[in-house]
Symmetry: C2
Subunit: 341 residues, 2 copies
């Protein structure tokens, strides 16, 4: 839920209403996002009439800082896999067999280590083939936000930053694809020592995607990498766990204008537009299945530790966000009316 | 305990006895070998008089096959470490931070992958400096056992073998040092997916040592490797968990002759002499503190899956082993008498 109570509540405008609210709202609430939303796409497909709308309001987005109102116009996609390596059929004694067995934990490390080159680029075959290059204009706009190394060091707590050479931090984090190891496991990991050569090794590996990468193509690229580089001493299996393409929303959509005015009313300054590194597959579904653009305005902050321990929500920002959404609903009719045929 | 009930029972001959047995026996039993035997060495040092003896019989050894009686004359040493890497202070969301953080799981894989070169050699600085080269005579003797690839493939179940180039399987497994990854852990390893960049990564790494490597020196070599290759994006810690030097016993010791005759009496063939890949630190302690050589004769088999699931004991071999030990005790007085001043 990314730290937000409203993370999967979508407010949908259809026609001017007669009651207290100036628009009709349909709520779409789901609680399976963190397990890949297996039921959401089929549900939307099966209920196109029920969900028919002009625009989707999606608050599963974050602000750059508590005093910088933010509209997100780009989201990275996701392709998430489990990689299983199997060597000998059972764990073996490292004294009796050490020296003749290709240890699957070591093979996993070799394979993962080879997935980035010395420039921080992902080495899966053709990984960048469909990546749309960043236009100069967009790079200028992203870097205008002045989110520099110092900012990201403070936000992450990391002693030093790292990443693909040739791109700034904000470009790498929002507009460039990445490959991350989300988890690794093999052998004995309890306290003390156990002298085994593990039979198996496992990694959770995910890629953040940008337009026009396709999660299915990325799976093929990962499998091609393994076909080329995995030694014969192990067998391997790639299990897809979650995925969705990246998306860019139209920042000239009337609902985006309504959101911009709403944020300005509350924060007393114009919002900034940013691309976000996270993934919200439903945004692509809403567009593809319902033809509805999404306005991404949310109120989590970079130091909320989302998906980590001590996750928090900054309440003053949260209350401002409620005010902003009220303004947004009241701004919508005029903006949309101006564009309706 | 390596699958043997008697694994840490040491039978000690001192003088001819008057009763049924031809020798006096002192039993030394300990149950902490798999956690590094923290109390054994201090106990031996504190009870030299109590444990004074002519020879130690140590059954923590294995046979080459059920029909090949085996005397072990060499044991590899062990140096076992936990390696902890720490990157950012908390797990981070891989969407929001993916692209700027040097993922500790990836760094761990880079470091582990770099610990072997393309020839299967260990790359820790000076790792082979003190390794005594294998004499041609000993290589001939080891390889006379005809323990070839097919044999080890069957014993391990591994689809293909691997290891240091320039040495045969039996040499690599018994007379060459190795570095193994016994376990790795980082991030999310449950079912399904969680899009985190882990804060930490851990590995259990151990080295099997040969004469004259020293476990403390190997720790310094590992730390030197990390000082050279660990990036500034992580901090690291090496925690020693268990260790002991390799040892070679004198195959011309009278008790070894007694054991050889005992095995021949039961199996009706002369035993073979082998070096074993495992580690039994107490053998070095018995020699250093008590001045006692150890005779290593045990009855586990290569397919016992020791330290693995479905560990077993081959009972027919076990009963033969009991017979052999009875012969050994009755052979001892004559062999030792012949050498006593």
């Amino acid at each position: 839920m990314k730290g937000q109570v409203l993370a999967s509540i979508y407010a949908v405008e259809s026609v001017l209403a007669q009651g207290n609210l100036p628009v009709n709202i349909k709520f779409l609430i789901e609680g399976e996002e963190e397990v890949g939303s297996p039921n959401l796409t089929p549900f939307i497909e099966a209920h196109k009439d029920l969900l028919d709308c002009d625009v989707a309001i999606n608050p599963d987005a974050s602000m750059i800082a508590a005093d910088i109102p933010t509209i997100t116009y780009g989201l990275r996609g996701l392709a998430y896999f489990e990689l299983d390596l199997i060597g000998p059929p059972t764990d073996l004694h490292s004294g009796l067999f050490g020296g003749i067995i290709h240890n699957p934990a070591q093979v996993l490390c070799d394979l993962i280590s080879g997935m980035h080159d010395s420039q921080g680029r992902v080495t899966l075959p053709n990984f960048y083939r469909n990546v749309i290059p960043l236009a100069d204009e967009e790079r200028q706009e992203l870097n205008r936000l002045q989110l520099n190394q110092t900012y990201y060091k403070i936000q992450s707590g990391a002693p030093t930053l790292w990443g693909e050479q040739g791109f700034t931090e904000i470009e790498r984090i929002s507009a460039r694809p990445t490959l991350e190891v989300n988890g690794i496991f093999s052998g004995y990991i309890g306290s003390g020592s156990k002298t085994v050569i593990p039979s198996r090794a496992m990694a959770k590996i995910s890629m953040r995607l940008v337009p026009d990468q396709d999660p299915q193509e990325v799976q093929e690229q990962l499998e091609e990498y393994l076909r080329i580089y995995a030694p014969k001493s192990v067998s391997w299996k790639v299990i897809p766990m979650a995925g969705g393409p990246a998306c860019i929303t139209n920042i000239h959509h009337p609902a985006v204008k309504a959101a911009s005015k709403a944020l300005e009313s509350v924060w007393r300054k114009k919002p900034v537009y940013k691309r976000e590194g996270g993934s919200i597959p439903v945004v692509a579904d809403m567009k593809k299945i319902l033809g509805a653009d999404s306005v991404l305005v949310g109120f989590s902050l970079p130091d909320d530790h989302i998906h980590g321990p001590n996750e928090k929500l900054h309440l003053p920002t949260w209350y401002k966000g409620i005010d902003a959404f009220i303004h947004l609903l009241y701004n919508l009719p005029e903006e949309i009316k101006g564009t309706k045929k």
